[in-house]
Amino acid sequence: MRVAPKPIQTFRDDFTYTNSDDAIKRFPFPFPEDEYMYSVNIEPHALPGPEGTVYEHLFDIDEHYLSEMAERKIVLEENPQRCLAMPHMDLACWDFIDRAMTTMSQDYPEYFSLQKDGDLWTWENRLLGIHDTFTFGDSDTLPQPALEYMGCQVQGDIAILDQRENDLFLDAGIVTCPADWSLAFDAGMSFSEWHGPVPLAHEAGIFERALKYLTAIPVGRPVRRLNWTLTINARMDTSPETYPNWGTDRDSITPENIGAKVYLRVELQVLDRMPRSNGLLFSIRTYLISMNDLVTNPEWAKRMHRIMKTLPPELVEYKGLSRYHPMLIKWLKQFDLEN
């Protein structure tokens, strides 16, 4: 049984965000082994995935839907630059609208519906009280810019990559819950440029192999990977633009509050070819779980300890964990005494 969206909780100020038992159970725990290292961990995203899991549908709608949509609105009001689409990406944005509306109305008919009469489409989002009729492909017939309109109705950040000269360019996106990267800064960059700051992986040739794989993704055969980091408090918007608001949170961790304040942040990244534009849709769906909730699963607790213990120093630094990493290992040790 799917959990219906809960009333709005916050990802800032008083941080009222919580996970239900069901949300904990379906959390995409990202570590298949006791040690973590970068790899090209991309696999086919065959749909529908197992029932009830975060892999079931292309766009996962869960109990946090209303909260995340409210948070996105706040961020966009504060900084409209969080949604950008270069003029040549217009058709790609419409590809995204088609893909989102078509799959969401099929996957969640209780929440969304789509009627097509040729190019005249009628879309209803009952969760947000949206009911619009528009002409497919004509951005003037939407109440908002195309990417913003649809981006404010799906959970997770969206980037749309233009494919040219065997490379991918970050030419459109709506990014309000990034793990410390800036859309405005990365806009227009090529694949290897926007991955520039990542340590170790360039030398391992990972980006060349990944790019070769990504540029060949055919229509209708999406792929996925998981990425992760740690975040202090249930804060969705950890962007460089708002660093003054959250950077110092890392100093607030004590042995007493560490279980409640440190969150594992997992991104389910899906790459899906857009048919009309040849763009690549890159959706980044973020899931947050507190250490206290995570250790309710003894297997996860043990593994989390081992992952933290063996994490290479470069990654500790890059993921911004240095300040509280030793404290976290010590705290996690109680769930993994033999190690």
Binding site: N166, V219, G220, P275, N278
Partner: protein
């Protein structure tokens, strides 16, 4: 190809020029995907026990998912793909094709688009044009052909494009002067070429002379692999030995022996099938590897390239 393949039915065959046949495919189930201008599909042909897979540009309106159309020029000296399409494929036949992929997408940031098509090289531009017209893009199509052999869609294009179209029929008029065409275009123009190697080379040479930025030139060079001398491939890791006949590409011979290699364009452009070489000299025929990589003999694109001598060893 097997898991992604789409089953299609041949619902129309038309002669569109003396040596060119157009095939319309409709899906056996459901609808096709819409596609992006410049996309191609790979058609799988089963000629007796031999599998031939050739890439063809889609030439229908990209927004119309009800059918896909391709055009095939008869190449009597080729390895058999075009002969098969012309002589064996009948109305109502079923074929397997891949979903569309695109290695020749228009750059929508261009201020102006200049298309140069030679003969059957008109096909990718047939899918560009409806989208260009919808967007009111600034473009010109220069179409070079010989009406005794090619020149498909010339009349249709004339009525659709009017003064945006320039035709050069070498059977009745002098050859096009590529230099003049290029020099008339404003800065910010992107050039797209599809046609025989000689056309691509002459445009590239002209463009270099005039200092045209390389990033503003796009060409689709891939063509079905050409035949060559037979040779033997040894696989170092698996210990297999594969015989490549004069008419097969190395990739086809490997596939026939259950060696799966990732691939997409099958024409030496996309880079997907790159394979490390352990021993033996390669006759490189691809557009993907740099000159340095080719000289170092480190790797090979088995979709088009062959052995220089009778035997090579691949590091797989």
């Amino acid at each position: 190809m097997s898991d992604a393949a789409i089953k299609v039915k041949v619902s129309d065959i038309r002669e569109v020029a003396p040596t060119i046949r157009e095939f319309t495919f409709t899906p056996l189930k459901g609808e096709f995907f819409p596609f992006s201008p410049g996309s191609h599909i790979v058609v799988e042909m089963l000629d007796g026990t031999k599998k031939i897979r050739n890439a063809y540009s889609l030439l229908s309106d990209p927004r119309d998912p009800s059918s896909y159309r391709i055009a095939v020029r008869l190449q009597p000296e080729s390895r058999g793909g075009s002969i098969f399409m012309h002589q064996q494929v009948k109305l109502g036949d079923e074929l397997s094709v891949t979903p569309p992929s695109n290695l020749f997408s228009p750059d929508w940031r261009a201020k102006k688009h200049l298309f140069l098509a030679g003969g059957v090289g008109i096909t990718p531009f047939m899918s560009y044009i409806p989208e260009m017209l919808r967007r009111n893009a600034d473009f010109e199509l220069h179409y070079l052909y010989r009406s005794t052999q090619t020149g498909a869609y010339a009349d249709e294009l004339q009525s659709m494009l009017g003064e945006k179209l320039f035709t050069y029929d070498s059977a009745t008029s002098p050859r096009a002067d590529v230099g003049t065409i290029i020099s008339g275009c404003p800065q910010g123009t992107h050039i797209y070429i599809c046609g025989p190697e000689s056309l691509i080379e002459s445009v590239l040479a002209q463009a270099e002379q005039t200092g045209w930025p390389k990033s503003h030139i796009h060409y689709e060079a891939f063509a079905a692999p050409k035949p060559g001398k037979p040779f033997v491939v040894e696989l170092k890791k698996s210990g297999k030995t594969v015989y490549v006949s004069g008419d097969d590409s190395m990739l086809e011979a490997l596939e026939a022996n259950d060696v799966e290699i990732p691939n997409m364009c099958r024409g030496g452009v996309c880079g997907q099938c790159i394979t490390p070489v352990a021993e033996g000299e390669i006759e490189h025929r691809d557009e993907f590897l740099s000159k340095q990589e080719k000289d170092s003999n480190c790797c090979v694109m088995p979709c088009v390239s062959r052995a220089k001598s009778g035997r090579i060893t691949l590091d797989i």
